[in-house]
């Protein structure tokens, strides 16, 4: 993969086809199983671990709140603007903002630049690479988290 123009204007990139979010809990709610996290990690990395998921199911087990967090596929992605080597690119088909693993230097500037705290970008400390939701762009079936969520409480939300 070629290094893209690092001065890319992140405001002019095409929109992603959506981002992963939760359905109305009146329709279906999260059962706290982390199937989404586990499959996300396994399909991308061939392994599971706390540093390999690109979606987080937050278990507030002592108050009974369960919700997911992942990349919002911002229209103007500040992570992309912050990356000094152009490792964050846009998939032509899905519009997903994604990190090209070979290019990522592990500088974590994307994590700092993301307006969300904590940023929905994981850091694989073994490979020293940042990883983020890519809308499962390489899967013809689409996002595995949505496909596998047993309660159907995840969906691809449109802008």
């Amino acid at each position: 993969m070629k290094v893209k123009d690092v001065t890319i204007d992140s405001r002019s990139v095409p929109k992603a086809k959506g981002y992963i979010g939760m359905v109305d809990p009146e329709i279906s709610a999260c059962q706290d199983c982390k199937v989404c996290e586990l499959y996300c990690a396994m399909i991308h990395e061939g392994a599971c671990g706390a540093e390999l998921n690109r979606i987080w199911e937050i278990s507030e087990t002592f108050t009974g709140d369960y919700y997911v967090r992942t990349c919002k596929q911002c229209i103007s992605p500040s992570c992309m603007a912050a990356c000094p080597v152009g490792a964050i690119q846009v998939d032509e088909v899905t519009g997903a903002r994604f990190i090209v693993e070979d290019l990522c230097t592990g500088c974590k500037l994307c994590i700092k630049a993301c307006p969300f705290d904590p940023a929905p970008i994981n850091f694989n400390s073994v490979k020293k690479k940042a990883i983020m939701c890519d809308l499962c762009k390489d899967r013809p079936e689409g996002p595995i988290c949505v496909q596998m969520c047993p309660t159907m409480c995840l969906e691809l939300k449109k802008y």
């Binding site: 199983c33 599971c48 540093e51």
Partner: protein, 670 residues
């Protein structure tokens, strides 16, 4: 092996007395013993001996996660505790499983298990982070409720931390105390919480790790998961009654495919929770469906100010059932005592199927237990429950005796009167409205080996209970939570029908032997992988599939596919079944070596609990047939050398022979 898949390769050993840590190589034991419980059994065989009591510092408490733990394998988020059980009567080695995020996170910290040895000099908790393990003082947590202490630990160690721990019942060595994971899961069997308490260990807390558990063939694992994925149903917050079939998504699991009022609805149906909404919650990570455990929040306590957040479901709804016919906010009443029992850290079964019904039935038949307890028995009074539960957890007054469990209590008082007296009348929880008020039960509803149980020779008639009687016989706990013989299966019904129409003598039929062996080995495999007990029972539990992937009762093909896709090591269905048999036979060898198990002992344990519904002589023949069917000697119940060697357990045969515990003449397996 260049790359290691599934297993992390090491088990943490913690010497609580010395405060030291070391590791054990998991790979010495796998794939021969599969993983999880199988590995724990082998370690037990190698490191333990007879003569140790449950609360001795020499007793060990081993927690293991199987080979699929920490991966995306379905229902892989469970683990297994093994120890000498203080609840089993007499004390014996047993196992109990538990879920939550803990098993997965332990793998992600790089461990396949934890061996806890010795006794900490003061209240302690074990903290494992990516920096390694350490022991910390739990002086400030000791005495605190199980859930409350874990909430504090969660705040202390941050988002993503998770704990297992005990409540006051475990601290005070109540023999049926649990180890719990917040409100969501617990080791219901064995009294593992009391073992933890005896070691001065309040909790084990894990933070996020950095270990990555590799899967050899992710696509194959995805395929097998999709094959076994039940039809999805929405799980919204439900504002209707649990007893309402239109709204309870697990109704069909509860009542069975024909919606007959079976045992399930008997246990779970009559709970009127309105106006409190409930949410289905999984017991552990990787769950594909849920099985009918519900979380409720903001339910007001009725005796103390405050709002409750707790779980109910399956046969634990018994607490709420005690109040379902009452006036007013009846759900809140049952839920409050349920939550209290969770905080105190009790195994619910002993309370709601054992001790409380026993107090109710003894009173009804005129056996005075009220003056023992020191208060009139009133199972519809929340205040009475609160007093009783606290008496037991803190061992006050007669609570000190009840903390020993119902079996030990009735043996002490005189079992003939206090256990075996037959009661006829309304069932304790549901009152006269249930089945026209007709129940006939011994006042102490006990199964084998000290465990309170519903279905041993009581709720289920002969010959329906024959296969499960065999399960009970060779176990050291209630086998029905992990080794269920699929009662709803067509083959099972055919067996009962043939017996009823006198086409076949059930005592000499092959079916009960086959059925009991299959469910035992299958249940063993479940605890080694791990996976959910629902898999083999997928039809029984009413799961719906787009396409049927084998009914699960006769086959463990799904399990072998899961094993192979995670590890990359080809394991056929037959090979996995044989490995399950090996693990179960090793478990048998431990019972024989350390607890002098014999056929005679098992017969004498089971037959009194059939309350005259069995022909003892004929049952003796069945038990002999069963031992032979398992490759064990029909007279002693001990595995033969041939059988042990066929399972590659020659060293076990040698050790048993040295102890004079190999059968003299080899009998050929049927």
């Amino acid at each position: 092996m260049n790359e290691q898949f599934g297993w992390t390769g090491k088990i943490l050993r913690v010497n609580l007395t010395e405060g030291t840590f070391s590791t054990v190589d998991t790979m010495k034991y796998v794939p021969k013993y599969i993983g999880g419980m199988g590995v724990a059994h082998r370690i037990w065989w190698e490191e333990m001996k007879s003569g140790i009591k449950a609360f001795d510092p020499e007793n060990k408490l081993i927690f293991t996660v199987g080979v699929t733990g920490g991966t995306a394998a379905p229902s892989s988020g469970r683990g297994e505790f093994v120890s000498i059980s203080p609840y089993s009567y007499p004390e014996q080695y047993t196992n109990s499983s538990i879920g939550g995020a803990f098993p997965t996170q332990l793998k992600w910290l790089g461990y396949d298990g934890i061996i806890l040895e010795g006794k900490a000099p003061e209240p302690t908790y074990l903290l494992i982070t990516s920096e390694g393990p350490e022991l910390r003082s739990a002086q400030d947590l000791w005495g605190m409720g199980l859930v409350d202490a874990q909430e504090i630990l969660h705040k202390r160690h941050g988002e993503g931390s998770t704990s297992y721990g005990i409540g006051p019942a475990g601290e005070n060595l109540v023999r049926f105390a649990i180890i719990g994971c917040g409100i969501h899961s617990a080791t219901g069997q064995g009294g593992m919480g009391a073992v933890m308490g005896s070691k001065n260990l309040k909790a084990i807390t894990l933070t996020k790790g950095k270990h990555q558990v590799k899967v050899a063939d992710p696509e194959a694992l995805l395929k097998v998961t999709e094959d076994i994925f039940p039809k999805k149903i929405n799980h919204p917050w439900i504002k209707e009654n649990l007893a309402d079939k239109e709204h309870n998504p697990f109704w069909w699991s509860w009542v069975g495919p024909n919606e007959k009022p079976n045992f399930s609805i008997n246990w779970m149906g009559l709970v009127y929770n309105k106006p409190y909404a409930y949410l289905s919650h999984s017991c552990g990570l990787g769950c594909l469906h849920g099985c009918g455990f519900y979380e409720l929040r903001d339910v007001p306590a009725t005796t103390h100010p405050g709002l409750l957040h707790a779980m109910t479901g399956c046969n634990h709804t018994r607490y709420e059932q005690f109040f379902h016919a009452e006036e007013g906010d009846k759900f809140a009443k049952g839920f409050e005592i349920h939550e209290l029992a969770e905080q105190l850290g009790f195994g619910h079964f002993e309370i709601v199927y054992g001790i409380v019904p026993w107090l109710y039935y003894t009173k009804a038949v005129g056996i005075d237990t009220e003056s023992l307890v020191g208060m009139p028995t009133d199972v519809r009074s929340v205040e009475w429950w609160v007093k009783l539960l606290n008496m037991i957890a803190y061992r006050q007054g007669f609570g000190d005796q009840l903390a020993e469990g119902l079996r030990r209590t009735t043996e002490k008082l005189g079992a003939d009167v206090y256990a075996h007296t037959i009661y006829e009348g309304p069932e304790a929880a549901r009152g006269a409205a249930w089945q026209g008020g007709k129940m006939k039960l011994p006042v102490a509803v006990l199964g084998g080996w000290g465990y309170t149980a519903r279905s041993l020779g009581t709720e289920m008639p002969f010959p329906m209970n024959l296969p499960s009687m065999l399960n009970w016989m060779i176990d050291t706990r209630d086998p029905h939570h992990n080794k269920w013989p699929d009662w709803a299966h067509q083959d099972f019904q055919n067996f009962v029908m043939k017996a009823m129409t006198k086409q076949e003598d059930p005592y000499t039929a092959e079916f009960p032997l086959k059925w009991a062996k299959l469910s035992t080995v299958r249940g063993t495999i479940i605890d080694c992988l791990p996976e959910c007990f629902m898999f083999p029972l997928r039809n029984y539990m009413g799961w719906q599939f787009d396409e049927q992937v084998g009914e699960g009762t006769w086959t463990t093909a799904v399990e072998s596919r899961i094993f192979s896709s995670v590890t990359g090591q080809k394991m056929t269905e037959d090979e996995l079944f044989k490995a399950g048999e090996r693990v179960n036979t090793l478990f048998r060898a431990i019972q024989i070596r350390d607890y002098n198990r014999t056929a005679q002992m098992e017969f004498e344990e089971i037959i009194p609990r059939t309350y005259g519904t069995y022909d003892a002589e004929k049952f003796k023949v069945t038990t002999g047939n069963f031992y032979e069917y398992l490759g064990w000697d029909r007279e002693t119940g001990w595995p033969t050398r041939e059988h042990l060697e066929s399972l590659d357990l020659k060293d076990v045969a040698d050790e048993l022979e040295t102890l004079g515990k190999l059968p003299k003449t080899a009998s050929v397996p049927a």
